[in-house]
Amino acid sequence: MIIENFPFITCMILIIFGIYTLLFKKNLIKLVIGITIIESGVNLFLVTLGYRENSVAPIFTFASSEKMVLPTPQALTLTSIVIGFATTALMLSFVIFIYHHYKTIEIDEMRRLEKR
């Protein structure tokens, strides 16, 4: 049972790693990486939903068999990857501005600088 559900277990492990990173790490870049990890977990989950046994990619050009995996989860995942790219770009831009202001990207040192 574990071998068949292995992709789903991987998704859960990725999401748990991502949430752990968000909760316990103090560096801003590590927070952004944590969000990217959660995103990868959710995208993997979406793609795995469409898998069918002994099927090929859902492309009709020179296809080798008529049995194909579901194409809709692939479209959902593609949209999610694009959105994830845009949010990562925006978050990294904010990190650049924070670095310009505080000269550090650790949350503890920012808090100390603000209280001064």
Binding site: I59, T61, F62, E66, L78, L92, S93, I96
Partner: protein, 158 residues
């Protein structure tokens, strides 16, 4: 970056851009499409920026033109969707019509025909244009910021 990296970059970026355009235009037949092809072309910009750094004047000074290209791509997408407003929004008015990309698609497994599926390749091209311009602008702005940080505090923009 060293001489080897610069030489290989100078050869490779043409192939990367060609591959990107192939992925964009064949989006309705093979895996790919607007975003994927645009991201491939933008990765060639990233390669140029990393290998050559401050010497790429073409990219670093043309930020405004990239914004313009981005807006044009987005406008083309929305206008293509609005032209079909006679029936519905986003209606594929060129499919099976014989005008531009108008052939009919054969049923089942076939050897793909580029001249099919109407509005889709046009939308792929406009999305690809927008994505390459958008990612290109992000890369250029971030690299300018990095060069300012490395080059001294006096150059910081307010």
């Amino acid at each position: 970056m060293s001489k080897i990296v610069k030489t290989i970059t100078r050869i490779a970026y043409v192939f990367i851009i060609t591959f990107g355009i192939y992925v964009i235009v064949h989006g309705h037949l093979t895996p790919g499409g607007g975003f994927q092809g645009g991201a491939v072309i933008a990765s060639s910009f990233a390669l140029l920026l990393i290998a050559y750094g401050k010497e790429i004047k073409f990219l670093l000074q043309n930020e405004n033109n990239f914004s313009l290209l981005e807006s044009l791509g987005a406008l083309a997408f929305i206008c293509l969707a609005l032209i079909g407003l006679g029936t519905t929004f986003f209606h594929n008015f060129l499919a099976n019509s014989g005008i531009l990309f108008g052939n009919s698609v054969a049923y089942g497994v076939n050897s793909g025909d580029l001249n099919t599926s109407g509005v889709l390749p046009l939308m792929n091209i406009s999305v690809g244009l927008k994505v390459l311009a958008g990612i290109g602008s992000i890369l250029i702005v971030m690299m300018i910021s990095v060069f300012e940080d490395l080059g001294g505090e006096s150059k910081r923009r307010r």
